[in-house]
């Protein structure tokens, strides 16, 4: 296959994707108008969009967004500090790595969301329990990637630096950090994504405020149109945040 047929195939693929999207939206519209699917199940897309616009323009989302974002920020900062420090300390010796890394991996493999009720019991329904859960879950990918990043720096690089007389601090700053940075950045990106998901998830399950809670509230009140509008909003926010974080990661990577 040569270049021109490849180009044609790529366009055709894009065509199929666009068609798929259009058909989906069309089905949605037809289902609610022609086929009389109950608006209690599936709201008409047009009022959903107008509600979405209304939410955006009136700034109704601000309070909930603020709660969610502040919980996210707090959880991520705690997880990052904890993960980086603990990860670095563990990575200092092979023995410590062999002891702790499997432990961390084992704990991380359990869905930590299970511990949410415990946090709610301890901290109440306020932001503290969400932050605690988000931090707990987000800690692990950061710690594990920090261990991987610092623990497996090519020995040759360390030997070469030492042979040139590098001090401990110089070794850390000019060899270990640049070498470990890509892996750690990836871990932090994953940690951020996971923190966001846990915060929204825990807001959905047990909360008095925040975006997750808002959606639940609307569902319980059967306000389908508005709920769909908020779902779109939250998905968009999540996409934007993830894109920002990915871009930040790429930027920092290039800067080293």
């Amino acid at each position: 296959m040569n270049a021109s047929t490849e180009r044609r195939q790529r366009l055709a693929s894009r065509g199929v994707q666009a068609a798929f999207l259009i058909v989906l939206i069309a089905l949605w519209y037809v289902a609610t108008t022609r086929w009389r699917v109950s608006p209690l199940l599936l709201p008409n897309p047009v009022p959903v969009l107008s509600d979405f616009w209304e939410v955006l323009t009136t700034g109704e989302f601000i309070d909930d967004l603020r709660v969610t974002l502040s919980e996210l920020a707090a959880a991520f900062v705690i997880a990052a500090c904890g993960g980086l420090i603990v990860g670095y300390l563990v990575s200092r010796s092979h023995y410590r790595i062999r002891v702790f890394e499997p432990l961390f991996a084992a704990v991380y493999s359990v869905p930590i969301i299970l511990f949410l009720p415990l946090y709610v019991l301890f901290f109440g329904l306020g932001p503290a329990s969400k932050i605690a859960l988000g931090a707990s879950i987000s800690f692990f990918p950061i710690a594990l990637s920090t261990i991987a990043g610092f623990g497996y720096v090519e020995r040759m690089l360390v030997i070469a630096a030492r042979s040139m007389g590098a001090s401990d601090y110089q070794l850390f700053r000019y060899v270990l950090v640049p070498a470990a940075l890509p892996i750690i950045l990836t871990g932090m990106r994953i940690g951020f994504t996971v923190a966001l998901l846990s915060i929204i998830g825990s807001e959905t399950i047990a909360s008095l405020a925040g975006l997750g809670h808002r959606i639940v509230h609307l569902a319980e009140a059967m306000e389908m149109t508005r709920m769909f509008a908020y779902i779109i909003f939250v998905v968009a926010i999540a996409a934007i945040l993830n894109a920002l974080v990915s871009a930040l990661e790429a930027r920092v990577r290039r800067a080293r």
């Binding site: 790529r10 023995y95 415990l118 998830g201 639940v216 709920m227 779902i231 939250v234």
Partner: protein
């Protein structure tokens, strides 16, 4: 090995050198901290020491409805897992084998896989009710994506030289599928199953915790609101144990079937 062990300092240090022993030591240490903190340092309304939790497990299981809820959750996990794998296979195989379909639909699938599904959890419950159906459905929606992704990757990763070699030996399309594509795909498939189990666990448990009027969610809400940390911890511990066992089963299966995979 001598029949009498001499507990010199050197021997003790040598024993501590073994990582697995140290790991157990860490766990024991943490349990000890928990025990001490729960008994003497923190209000018993908020936390319970592991000893009491362990002793009260039978009381927990005698609570009406708890064993049933646990059993139902276990079945939900099993059914959701099987469904995820089947759906993942049914979608993933054709996608993997047809390059045009793959190029068209994989971006859509990856996009869906990346959205925070937890936002539509209330929708699932609205549609499927508060019974097992919504939990299974939510679990499946988390579990089938990694199966598709790993199967497609497994088919795509075949070294072209293997296909060329088979062709040069006169293999028919069917023979290539059966003797090359399928065996090559197996490790990826099992990796996908491991991820599917993780996804299913997340989905089912999220849904269970969300529904506070039935199932596990009812009891977590009950124990939380009545400040019963003993039974709450016991319940969480049992669920965590369930998760660990299920994860371990799938992980071992993966290791067993991927023995040839040196890459």
């Amino acid at each position: 090995m001598t029949s009498r062990t001499t507990w010199t300092a050197a021997a003790l240090r040598a024993w501590l050198r073994r990582p697995w022993l140290a790991r157990i030591g860490v766990v024991v240490f943490l349990l000890g901290v928990w025990e001490i903190a729960a008994r003497w340092l923190i209000d018993p309304m908020f936390i319970s020491p592991p000893s009491r939790v362990f002793m009260s497990l039978d009381a927990l299981l005698e609570t009406r409805g708890v064993p049933a809820a646990l059993r139902v959750t276990f079945w939900e996990l099993g059914i959701a897992f099987v469904l995820s794998v089947v759906i993942g296979l049914v979608i993933g195989l054709p996608l993997g084998l047809a390059p045009f379909a793959r190029r068209s639909f994989m971006p859509i699938i990856l996009l869906l896989y990346g959205t925070p599904q937890v936002t539509i959890l209330p929708l699932f419950v609205l549609y499927f009710g508060i019974g097992p159906a919504s939990k299974i459905a939510f679990g499946v929606s988390h579990g089938f994506f990694p199966v598709i992704v790993t199967i497609v990757a497994g088919v795509q990763n075949i070294k072209p030289i293997l296909l060329t070699s088979a062709r040069s030996m006169g293999a028919s399309r069917y023979q290539i599928l059966r003797h090359i594509v399928f065996p090559h795909m197996i490790p990826s498939f099992f990796a996908g199953m491991r991820l599917a189990m993780t996804g299913v666990l997340l989905g089912v448990l999220l849904a269970e915790l969300y529904v506070s009027t039935a199932g596990i969610g009812y009891f977590t809400t009950l124990f939380t609101q009545s400040f019963d940390p003993t039974r709450l911890l016991g319940l969480v511990a049992l669920l965590a144990a369930m998760a660990i066992v299920l994860n371990e089963i799938v992980r071992r299966a993966e290791v067993h079937f991927s023995r040839w995979h040196s890459e």
